[in-house]
């Protein structure tokens, strides 16, 4: 099979998939869970339960508060203790529903059996409704509501569904484990999304460093009745799993700046999302569990784990169950080492998008002393969007917003390749992210003003 990859930039960080051989274990429920209302991209959900209510596992706790928003379900049965702001992993206050766990009683209508249901429902609207009602969001990092993505605007047609199994971040193995252990469910989930999108070809894109997963997928595809689904092997390269990069790798097409993947006929969904879609549609099970890797360079091999966890368990409870924070840990990260977020508050609750607790040692993670730029050009060689981070950094310092927009700072995907490869340890991405936010604000304001002016002109005409 021919390996493919994206055409611009990229880096090769060390693989470090230490927990790859740890089978998924089920994490027990603690006494209290905290369910965040902002677990997805878009508007935070609105709680529909009150303090003192008894809730069951899988019961709706909150409803979407807008078009881009999602349902939130209870991960446990018990009593709602409070609905109040609580600090997330970065210490920012977000409304959480606190539930005191009592037993494990599931809401009705959820199929808890292990039987594989391969028959795909034909009613597209019903399937989309199920995905929406069960709170499925993209689990690759952005947590974009899946039903919105699977329902492209009229006029745009999906030509290829890419199931993202790149898992290009070092250390993370949760996707790899579900590809091995839940192979068939993932393929059924992919087939469901394929049928929702009108039967376009479906590609299971997996990086070459996971040959067992590729084999398992190919074997399972042979045993299942679906057509037009194939496995595509990818070269190992970061950020292969970035939506835009993956589209370039698989379809040789590039999404225009500011455009959506569907504009080039692509829909990208994560492996874990495919599994969530399977459970939502075939089993009517809401998104209340996900897989999470506990790993790190300072964690002994026997303490590395892949867990199936209920969304809402505090990170500290998981860390304690896994044997506590290791002695040598200097930084704790939620997500991968390239794009993950550093955790400043271990009491924060897990959310739908939580994929790991990563412990990094001081030597692995401490940033070096910043020195002067030597104009080596490594940052622009590494940038997968073809930007010139050194230039953007300079423009940011000068406060030149026009120059920043001209040099496409708004295209930055914040993958971290520039800072990763800078020999002078210049905090390129830190600063570029700031100017990206500012420039996008300016662009939005300008677009809004143009829209208002056009409407005013229209009204004047009438």
């Amino acid at each position: 099979m021919k390996n493919v990859t994206f055409r611009i930039g990229g880096v090769h960080p060390h693989d470090s998939k230490l927990s790859r051989d740890c089978a998924i274990e089920t994490l027990p429920l603690p006494q209290t869970v905290y369910v965040s209302m902002a677990q997805h991209l878009g508007a935070p959900a609105t709680p529909v339960v009150a303090v003192g209510d008894k809730v069951k596992v899988g019961q709706v706790l909150a409803e979407p508060a807008g078009f881009i928003s999602a349902f939130v379900h209870s991960p446990a049965s018990g009593t709602v203790k409070s609905i109040a702001p609580r600090a997330d992993i970065a210490g920012k206050m977000v409304t959480h529903i606190e539930i005191a766990v009592e037993g494990d009683e599931w809401a009705e209508g959820i199929d808890l059996s292990d039987t594989l249901v391969t028959e795909i429902p034909a009613d597209r609207a019903a399937v989309l409704e199920k995905i929406k009602k069960n709170g499925v969001v993209g689990l690759g990092g952005a947590t974009f509501p899946t039903h919105v993505k699977l329902n492209p605007a009229p006029g745009s047609k999906a030509e290829c569904l890419i199931i993202n199994g790149a898992e290009c971040e070092p250390y993370l193995t949760s996707d790899y484990r579900i590809m091995l252990e839940r192979t068939k469910e993932i393929i059924v989930g992919a087939a469901i999304m394929q049928s929702v999108l009108g039967g376009c070809p479906c590609v299971l894109a997996i990086e070459e460093n996971k040959p067992e997963a590729i084999q398992a997928m190919q074997k399972a595809l042979g045993e299942l009745p679906y057509t037009n689904i194939r496995v595509q092997q990818l070269k190992k390269r970061y950020p292969q799993g970035g939506e835009k990069q993956l589209i370039d790798a698989v379809m040789r097409r590039q999404v225009k700046s500011g455009g959506l993947p569907i504009s080039v006929g692509a829909v990208v969904q994560n492996m874990a999302t495919a599994l969530a879609v399977y459970e939502a549609v075939q089993k009517n099970k809401p998104l209340i569990t996900n897989t999470l890797t506990v790993t790190g360079d300072c964690l002994p091999l026997e303490k590395q784990h892949n867990y199936l966890f209920r969304i809402g368990i505090p990170l500290s409870a998981i860390a304690d169950y896994a044997g506590g924070v290791p002695e040598g840990a200097a930084k704790i990260i939620s997500g991968g080492p390239m794009m993950g977020k550093a955790i400043s508050n271990m009491d924060a609750a897990t959310v739908k998008g939580s994929s790991s607790i990563l412990y990094l040692s001081y030597d692995a993670t401490k940033r070096g002393e910043t020195s002067a730029c030597i104009r080596c050009g490594r940052c622009s060689d590494a940038c997968p969007m073809g930007l010139e981070p050194f230039l953007l950094n300079r423009l940011t310092k000068a406060g030149d917003m026009e120059g920043l927009e001209k040099n496409a700072v708004q295209d930055c995907i914040e993958c971290g390749c520039c800072l990763y490869s800078c020999p002078a340890n210049i905090p390129l991405l830190d600063r570029i992210r700031q100017s990206k936010v500012q420039v996008m604000g300016i662009m939005r304001a300008r677009a809004a003003a143009a829209k208002a002016a056009a409407e005013a002109a229209k009204a004047a005409k009438q």
Partner: protein, 307 residues
């Protein structure tokens, strides 16, 4: 040889003359007619081009001031009343005197008062840090200590105190241009009236958390107890979201609030004498006692009148 020298001189002189003529002609042809008063106003401006007035620079200010019908919306905080008088003189306008202002850092979360809870390792910028998380202390409101305000200050009036990790304003150098106010992502710095002989009172805290939370994060935090509010006889103090604020326009600098604040969040500076807390407290107690007596007497009178 002589011929070469002569020719060189002739050619160079001719070239010079020709270019001078061209320059003269271009300057004449493309001359922009400007109000000469713009130049005059610009001359009396401080020339810092800091943008504190809201315009791009001193020239832009002069241009706008000349075109404006009055000087109500034009004030140079750096030059202050003196410069504005001169500007008004040139333009023949009235100028409203403004009380001199100074930048005030409203956070006392020094390393000792507000222990760190984690180690920040990103770009040394408050903006970056504020966007990332709540900060490296338990207080999500206070100073982040990366010195964005210091680098924003053009007058060298701000420095980071190494021991406290907080910015310090040099009153002599501060021109109240407001650059630091804009630079601070946590809105800690405020422009306040300089006060008579520099004396002023302010709440050195912006933490809006509930008392116990704020106190746990920082021993110098305002806990929103409201004692100052009850003590103040001038109605200068307001309490909003667990945080007291002293309105400098109403404050009469009696320092009673400073004396009663249980956490020392209220700071009085440049006062000639150190605050004698006990004396002030006794004074307040005395006043309260008298007020109580008066109230009771009034009550008694009321009763008598009713009977």
């Amino acid at each position: 040889m002589t011929g070469t020298i002569i020719w060189t001189i002739v050619i160079l002189a001719g070239l010079g003359l020709l270019l001078a003529l061209i320059l003269f002609w271009v300057a004449k042809k493309f001359k922009v007619e400007e109000d000469p008063r713009i130049d005059e106003v610009e001359k009396v401006m401080p020339g810092a081009n800091c943008g504190g007035c809201g315009f791009a620079g001193c020239r832009a200010f002069a241009d706008a001031a000349v075109k404006a019908p009055n000087l109500d919306n034009h004030y140079c905080p750096v030059g202050g009343n003196e410069v504005m008088k001169k500007v008004a003189g040139i333009l023949g306008y009235e100028v409203k005197e403004k009380a001199p202002m100074v930048a005030v850092v409203r956070c006392n979360g020094s390393c000792a008062n507000r222990p760190a809870t984690n180690i920040y390792d990103g770009a040394p910028s408050c903006k970056v840090k504020a966007a990332l998380y709540s900060g490296d202390t338990g207080c999500a409101y206070g100073c982040l200590g990366c010195g964005d305000c210091v680098s924003a200050c053009q007058f060298g009036a701000l420095t980071m105190d190494v021991t406290t990790g907080l910015p310090v304003v040099d009153e002599q150098k501060c021109t109240a241009c407001g650059a630091c106010v804009k630079a601070c992502p946590k809105s800690i710095i405020e422009l306040r009236a300089k006060g008579p002989r520099g004396m002023r009172l302010y709440v050195s805290c912006v933490n809006k958390d509930k008392g116990p939370v704020a106190k746990k994060a920082c021993s110098a935090a305002c806990i929103g107890c409201g004692i100052c509010l009850k003590t103040c006889t001038k109605g200068a103090i307001t309490l909003e979201g667990n945080l007291a604020y002293i309105n400098y326009e109403l404050c009469k600098l009696c320092r009673e609030c400073e004396a009663v604040c249980p956490t020392g969040a209220i700071h009085g500076i440049n006062f000639p004498k150190p605050l004698d807390k006990e004396a002030v407290k006794a004074r307040i107690a005395e006043r309260n006692r008298k007020a109580k007596e008066a109230a009771e007497a009034a009550k008694a009178e009321n009763k008598e009148a009713q009977q």
